[in-house]
Symmetry: C2
Subunit: 363 residues, 2 copies
């Protein structure tokens, strides 16, 4: 059997910098743990636009379809702000999600002990926080038709369509319940069923799926209340299940609670391929951070932990994922901090590359 | 000239309880300040459904169109959870917003000095916070067609339509810029222009309107980042301008930052009527709180401050609004607390009615 394959798409801004650190980690697992990967690299986002005139070349798309896992850095930046919508860097990422059919986006929001002081929230509200947001990623208003800007009378109208079929809701719901079974057996589903019919269907299907998981406690919450509860008492949640647009906003809100945006990974999973592995893309929750790009200041941990999720969800190496996560915790406990993590004066920040080296050393 | 008219719609849950306190305030302004109002009362939400089989009777709608201001308590509750979508309590409120064409929803998020300790957020992040969210309230995905649950192949699909015309965006934007002129002259507009064409049009129109307000500094932010920044550093904002759905979520998030959800009022304003006053509805941001309804525990301040907004925006009584707001601040500074405001042990909560009396006494 050939080595499992990984396609690295560093993308824009701090993407390439943090990905360099992930490469060190991949090398370490090959040398020290006998986990060899076939690694290739390509362009996405603004970087792809600069070369090909579009944010994802067809060849790159084809490659992504044929690897065991894609690791992506970040896309976008002010240099591309004035591009036409159809070639914006973000469209490269959205094309990957859609064509790989990565319907289940897992976004853990975890508060690292060593960083609890760093949250905007009071310590007792976030200490020990460990929730998982499951965001539907291939449908909803991100992809629904009709969409566009149209003439209407003597003015224009901007239109997007929120659209969910029963099967789209069902498969996302299943992945949330499966996760809950391996966690604290609670799912809270968030929508606006009081205002949107798509939310009514969402609630109905999720309730039906729940019947297959009698051990899991299901609750429903309106998404506005969900945002409020995330700030008020986030530890009430275990798994949060929500749609593409609400998931975008709620997961950023949850990420910020932990005070560790530079720390948070994500996995986007699709259906199993022939070899049994799910289609998968792993990326940090943070963006391309153009303001600090190229300065060696970025925190590579979100991207490193995204690779840990790849070990767990794509390569069935749960123990090795634990090892990598433990190494990150140790480095933090030792007080190693990139600039984004400096809660207090008097601590000298380390560079992106020093942080990567520290994690390797702790492995 | 007849006295200005107010229609009171107490609604469901704690709505009637908090409205009783507002009536005390209205009476005080009549007796002591010579501000006489013609007050009538009617049903909305579940209370209207119980009587008429729908959440807003046509007669009530007609009355609302003909008064100078509507004061609404809250709608909804578990007793109505299984009702058909078309007669849900919320539909009564949405009908009022839509038919009165209340396109500009003002939601201040203010941290009261006496309550800064009560926020989930660290004190320095929220102390002195005073931002204003302007939420477009009559369009977007709340009202766009087509909408519904349809058969498609052998399954169903839930559809809603996000839809904004240039003129809808423009009038909401104008109201935000007008407010900013009387505040700190900053507007941050939030959408998802990187993903939604309706967001692209939104950004374009807001930018155009900004040209009429050269003194106001305009910035744009993706709504997911907006949620994050609200938790990270809310004091960076002055006026936030956003659409109906994002506004729903972001304003609940902002409300929670202040730790004073039971304290926050809102105004929903439309075009000027013949008498020059805007169409207007005032309501607390909090909901019907069925868990504490009927127990005399509810905090009436959000509803009282909504009446203060009515004094300011409908009745041109800015000084009297200031007086009422100052009375609320004084009561809080004196340590009077309803149960929702009990951050620390050893404080005895007052009842809804005691809180109302305390505000009257402080006037
Ligand atoms: C970059 C952007 C298209 C993307 C999204 O809106 O999904 C991002 O915000 C995210 O959450 O992954
Ligand atoms: C009650 C509900 C229809 C309403 C909304 O979604 O607008 C509420 O959440 C609000 O924010 O006023």
């Amino acid at each position: 059997m050939p080595n499992p394959s990984i396609l690295i798409l560093p993308g824009d801004g701090i993407g390439p910098e943090v990905m360099t650190e992930v490469r060190k980690i991949i090398t370490w697992f090959g040398d020290k743990r006998g986990l060899q990967f076939g690694v290739s690299e390509d362009l996405v986002g603004g970087a792809a636009y600069d070369k090909h005139g579009k944010p994802l070349a067809d060849e790159t798309m084809a490659k992504a379809q044929n690897v065991d896992a894609v690791l992506l850095g970040a896309v976008g930046g002010p240099a591309y702000d004035d591009l036409d919508f159809s070639v914006k860097p973000e469209r490269g990422l959205l094309r990957l999600r859609k064509e790989m059919d990565l319907y289940s986006n897992l976004r853990p929001a975890q508060c690292f002990d060593a960083l609890a002081d760093f949250s905007s929230l009071k310590k007792d509200i976030v200490a020990g926080l460990d929730i998982m947001i499951v965001r539907e990623l291939t449908s909803g208003v991100y992809f629904g038709e009709p969409r566009g800007i149209f003439e209407e009378g003597n003015e224009r109208v901007g239109i997007n369509t929120q659209r969910y079929t029963e099967s789209e809701i069902e498969r996302a719901a299943r992945s949330a319940f499966e996760l809950a079974m391996r966690r604290n057996k609670k799912v809270c589903s968030m929508e606006k069923a009081n205002v949107m019919e798509s939310g009514i269907l969402w609630r109905e299907v999720v309730t039906r799926v729940a019947a297959d998981y009698p051990e899991v406690e299901l609750s429903h919450m309106y998404a506005d209340n969900g945002a409020m509860q995330l700030v008020r008492a986030p530890k009430q949640f275990d798994v949060i299940l929500t749609d593409n647009l609400f998931g975008d906003i709620l997961s950023d809100c949850a990420a910020m609670l932990t005070g560790s945006l530079g720390m948070l990974p994500s996995a986007s999973l699709g259906a199993p391929m022939e070899n049994g592995r799910p289609k998968a893309l792993y990326e940090p929750v943070h963006g391309s951070a153009p303001d600090i790009a190229g300065q060696g200041k970025a925190n590579p941990i979100a991207c490193i932990l995204s690779f840990a999720m790849a070990l767990r969800y794509s390569f069935d190496q749960g123990a090795e994922a634990d090892r990598l996560e433990a190494a990150v915790e140790k480095v933090l406990a030792d007080g190693v901090r990139t600039a984004d993590l400096l809660a207090s004066e008097g601590v000298e920040p380390v560079s992106t590359s020093q942080m990567g080296d520290a994690v390797v050393a702790a492995l």
